[in-house]
């Protein structure tokens, strides 16, 4: 920068950032900061430090979980797109494919139940349609503390209302999910959402900034100051006394998202070739979407921040890049069709602004008020230092105690059944999922309340079955077996509808990975999931990691949610759980 734009004059200087270790507040460690300086050959400025902090956070980089994720099996004859994109894609015949992914919004929902859950749904839906797919279903997997607690009631009401508020208005049915209550989640509820979409093969788009000279189109809502720090916020322990995190609240607008969704899908259908790449602006908004798209294509990007549509005044480059304002997308398009593509969005009252170009120099360059405010290598932003994560098996797993002590013999089965049915985890969730529109789009063959949701594919005889499952307590007792059981349970739910399981997404909710026992849980649970996934021929094609689910140093049960999709060749053969006729025989199948 030859001269510092006025708005940036109050920012810490590179020297201050180093001297006062400002980077620590952004959750960058000292060795990480030193590595940044070394790679740059200079001190990073305020904006650049912020970009690194966000991109190197666990939330964006998966730096800590990557060694585990890499082991996931994700290839078979159906896989068209495995992990690494907005969502995974599986072939389902007839030139059609199913697209699905799960995502967590635990921390935002703990702070702000309604908006946290709502924006979680918004984000996962964008992941689906950014691939060019039409979203057809939503599922939610929820974990709360004990129901007697007032704060828990507040969380349940807010979170369920948020999912309903967003999904219903979008017009995508919520067809299933699961919910369990246990005090381990008292202050750290889990809010995982899964979305499923379908597309024709030729509409498949990925988030890559290919083609030097192509333009970068900013689409959707304007940028405000919402959710700045969201990525770093999700990547650190949650201190219940901390009020400061509250700046991270984002507000969703499903009305706008529906316009963005419908228009994006229409644009992709109409401009198949001219739209080169599409990605949602999720955590760490503009920086993560643009850097990842460039990185995957091996290119550079040059963005002019003066062109980014702003909802508020005086946003700094740092704020513009890190804002998590919702309902925004980034598209890489061929220059000659840019006007035509933009017009589709203008007609709906949406932003569609050319903010930059794909370059061949591998650089990440940002200008603001005619000054270069960031000048980095894309690959530096995308490659945090490799981490060695020590693991240690917890004693409870190595030598379980008291296993033989349980000798109680129950005679009064009616009483036991009665008690079981009163358990909040076992009791019917109908009063809650009744708030979800499970029927819109008129394809839902099996609604919530069965084993898995079943959604038919109009114009074919096919249907997709879908479910989310995991039992955190079992994973806690034995992470590997618990992981296997999560897959087994999901598969059972799918099979009960008559469908064949074809693939898995996951949402890995764990505590602080720096604790070797927790890393062990993560590693083993994933190994268990992987084992069974292979045996069932259900590749793991997408997923999400949520670590640091702790309150005041205490971790939740390890809760690797498994989302599974199954294919049913003939929707007329779908089976429902209800007993059909008096006099029918009941069989107990299995061991």
């Amino acid at each position: 920068m030859t001269s510092v734009p006025d708005l940036m004059k109050d920012e810490f200087t590179p020297e201050q950032i180093k001297e006062n270790q400002i980077y620590l507040q952004w959750s960058l460690t000292e060795p990480e900061y030193d590595l940044i300086c070394e790679r740059l050959g200079r001190l990073p400025n305020y904006t650049e430090t912020g970009l690194f902090a966000a991109m190197w956070s666990e939330h964006c980089s998966y730096k800590k979980s990557k060694p585990v994720l890499r082991k996931f099996w994700s290839e078979n004859e159906r896989v068209l797109q495995g992990p690494g994109e907005g969502a995974g894609v599986l072939d389902i015949g007839d030139n059609q494919a199913v697209v699905f992914k799960a995502e967590s919004h635990n921390h935002p929902s703990a702070v702000e139940p309604y908006e946290g859950a709502a924006t979680g749904v918004g984000g996962i839906i964008r992941d689906i349609f950014s691939m060019g797919a039409q979203p057809i279903a939503i599922l939610d997997s929820l974990r709360f503390g004990e129901i007697e607690d007032n704060q828990t009631k507040h969380l349940i009401n807010g979170i369920v209302a948020g999912i309903a508020g967003y999904g219903n208005a979008l017009g995508i049915p919520t067809v299933g999910g699961d919910m369990a209550l246990d005090k381990t989640y008292q202050k750290n509820p889990l809010v995982n959402a899964m979305a499923v979409g379908i597309l024709d093969h030729e509409d498949l788009h990925v988030g890559q900034a290919n083609g030097v000279g192509n333009r970068i189109l900013y689409i959707g809502a304007k940028t405000g100051r919402d959710g700045i720090h969201g990525a770093t916020f999700a990547s650190s322990d949650f201190d219940s006394s901390e009020e400061q995190n509250r700046s991270a609240v984002q507000v969703g607008d499903p009305f706008l998202e529906k316009l963005v969704m419908d228009t994006t899908i229409a644009a992709i259908k109409k401009f198949k070739k001219a739209i080169v790449g599409v990605q949602d602006m999720g955590a760490a908004g503009l920086v993560s979407s643009s850097a990842e798209m460039a990185g995957k294509a091996g290119n550079g990007v040059h963005l002019n921040l003066d062109l980014v549509p702003q909802r508020e005044t005086n946003l700094t480059p740092y704020e513009l890049m890190l804002s998590e304002s919702q309902e925004r997308m980034l598209m890489v398009v061929k220059e000659d069709q840019m006007e035509a593509i933009s017009q589709l969005f203008f007609k709906q009252g949406l932003e569609a602004v050319d903010i930059g170009a794909v370059t061949d120099d591998g650089k990440y360059v940002l200008t603001f008020e005619d000054q270069v405010v960031t000048d980095l290598q894309v690959k530096d932003l995308l490659t945090p230092p490799k981490q060695k994560m020590p693991t240690k098996a917890p004693a409870r797993v190595l030598a379980p105690v008291g296993q033989n002590e349980y000798l109680e013999v129950e005679k009064d089965f009616a009483n036991v059944l009665d008690k079981m049915l009163q358990q909040s985890t076992v009791a019917s969730k109908r009063d809650l999922f009744r708030h979800y529109d499970s029927m819109v789009r008129t394809d839902t063959v099996i609604r919530p309340g069965g084993d898995a949701g079943v959604v038919r594919i109009k114009g074919t005889k096919k249907a997709l079955a879908m479910t989310t499952d995991v039992n955190g307590r079992k994973v806690f007792l034995n992470p590997k077996i618990g992981g296997q059981l999560a897959v087994a349970e999901a598969a059972q739910n799918i099979v009960c509808t008559g469908a064949t399981p074809i693939g898995i997404t996951d949402c890995l909710n764990f505590g602080d990975p720096d604790d070797p026992e927790i890393y062990y849980e993560l590693e083993q649970a994933c190994a268990g999931i992987n084992d069974f996934a292979k045996q069932l021929n259900t590749p793991i094609i997408s997923g999400n990691v949520s670590l640091y689910n702790e309150t005041d140093g205490k971790a939740i049960y390890p809760t690797p949610m498994v989302g599974m999709v199954g294919l049913l060749a003939d929707v007329n053969k779908a089976t429902t759980i209800d007993f059909k006729n008096a006099g029918d025989l009941i069989y107990l199948v299995g061991e």
Partner: protein, 216 residues
Amino acid sequence: MRAAVIQFPGSNCDLDLMNALKELKFEATLVSHEATDLSEFDAIFIPGGFSFGDYLRSGAVARFSPIIAAIKKAAAAGKLVVGICNGFQILTEAGLLPGQLMMNEHPGFICDEADLEIVNPDSRFTNQYQKQFITIPVAHGEGRYVADATTIAALDKNHQIIFKYRKNINGSINNIAGISNKVGNVFGMMPHPERAIEAMISSDDGRAFFTSILNK
């Protein structure tokens, strides 16, 4: 019958309604809320959804779309105007039907199947039903029908109450689920007949609603 399905920004049952109309052999066309001419259609359908996000009040903003003048003209000319869910809300906000749809008695969206009673089996929307009780899905957060006593009495007297809930799911006055105007050509209901044309999806009790319209 040539039917228009009006698309507002935020409508989300528009395509479901199109499917239902086509299935029942209507000649159905999607029409933008910005259009100003509906003269080529015999029936106008306003679908469910969240027009303009349902911000302010459901239906309140949609009422100012250009299409509304054309809908009013069609209604005055005696054409059929049907509002389902959000469409019903829009029709009351626009003054084409009396009363208002307010927040459910127990706040919160409900999606369920509702048992309805056909109160007026001779209407243009019910004349093909062979039974008095039907099951149709509901999906709404603001479906509680409210009107003053005089209005309710007049609705009753003129047989404008077409459907009632058998169990009052949202606190509507007199269990009202669907009403028409006095002439009988403008109609609104909260339940979704377009979601009830196949037993596989819900019930097929919605089919006779559409065939009644075809029968005039």
